[in-house]
């Protein structure tokens, strides 16, 4: 799996999180995977320096996404996709419990944890 290639389980979780949500930020990954924020932030910065990720500030939060302009990103994302697609639906529900898609203010969330 990716953790073996990347040498880090944290790195694998970050990429799966980014693939699932399209974009993400360190505190979201830390919350969903119950990990330390500092450790996650360092990994995000490492992958941004490598060119695979890009980031932008939204308020006080630095939002990351795959850098699709970078020529190595598409083949790398293909690897992430294969790992992501191999996960059973039940495991995805556990790994990504929070809804982060667009949602009208005040619309109730039934049966899932609120964001």
């Amino acid at each position: 799996m990716l953790d073996q290639i990347l040498g880090s389980e944290t790195a694998q979780k970050i990429f799966l999180h980014l693939y699932h949500y399209g974009e993400s930020y360190p505190s979201a990954v830390a919350k969903d995977f119950n990990m330390s924020l500092g450790q996650i932030q360092r990994q995000f910065e490492r992958f941004e320096n490598a060119g695979i990720l890009i980031s932008k500030l939204s308020g006080k939060t630095r939002i990351y996404q795959f850098n699709k302009k970078f020529s190595l990103t598409a083949p790398f994302m293909e690897m992430v996709k294969r790992v992501y697609d191999s996960l059973p639906l039940e495991e995805k529900e556990i790994l990504f419990p929070t809804r982060r898609g667009p949602r009208r203010a005040g619309k109730p969330i039934i049966g899932r944890e609120s964001p």
């Binding site: 490598a50 060119g51 890009i54 302009k69 190595l72």
Partner: protein, 178 residues
């Protein structure tokens, strides 16, 4: 090669840094917004210069930049006398989206060699930012370069199609007609 750091523009700093790196075996290509500055004679001011190192000698960059007075500050290099421009070395390889067959243009001046994206690849690079980062200013930059330099329109169209973004080429050609 001499330079006035306090007043130099992107093109002058590119040639100065590029020739120093080239003389020391570093194969560096200017990419990004600074290429727009070069191809529009400064009509667009980038503020930073991005070089992609094509060979496996990136570890020599910090000492070579120090030789010409640049100090590393995080991911970029700054010169104490050059307050308006800084230099970065983003990760390679050279590529624009899915296209990895990029052939930089090589310039030679006073025995020095320096490389830069071609006008066609510069337009593709700017359109890539428009497509993937939704940056409208990059569409404007692509149009600006196209109006100032000869370029291969069919190659830009082909690249947009390959990226699954024919709509971007439509926006680009609309910009050219304005």
């Amino acid at each position: 090669m001499k330079i006035n750091f306090s007043k130099c523009n992107e093109e002058q700093l590119w040639k100065y840094v590029g020739s120093h790196l080239s003389k020391n075996g570093i194969d560096a290509v200017l990419v990004g917004g600074a290429v727009v500055s070069v191809y529009t004679n400064g009509a667009y001011e980038s503020g930073d210069l991005d070089f992609i190192i094509q060979n496996l000698m990136k570890d020599k960059v910090p000492s070579l930049m120090a030789e010409i007075g640049f100090k590393r500050k995080g991911r970029h290099y700054a010169h104490p006398e050059c307050k308006h421009l800084f230099v970065e070395f983003p990760s390679g390889p050279l590529g624009i989206g899915e296209d990895i067959n990029i052939e930089p243009v090589e310039h030679k001046e006073k025995g020095a060699t320096f490389k830069i994206l071609s006008p066609t690849d510069c337009i593709k690079d700017r359109l890539a930012s428009y497509i993937y980062f939704k940056s409208n200013e990059c569409l404007d930059q692509a149009v600006l370069v196209a109006k100032n330099q000869p370029f291969k329109k069919a190659a830009v169209h082909k690249w947009c199609k390959a990226e699954g973004a024919d709509w971007a080429f439509v926006d680009f050609t609309r910009g050219l007609k304005k």
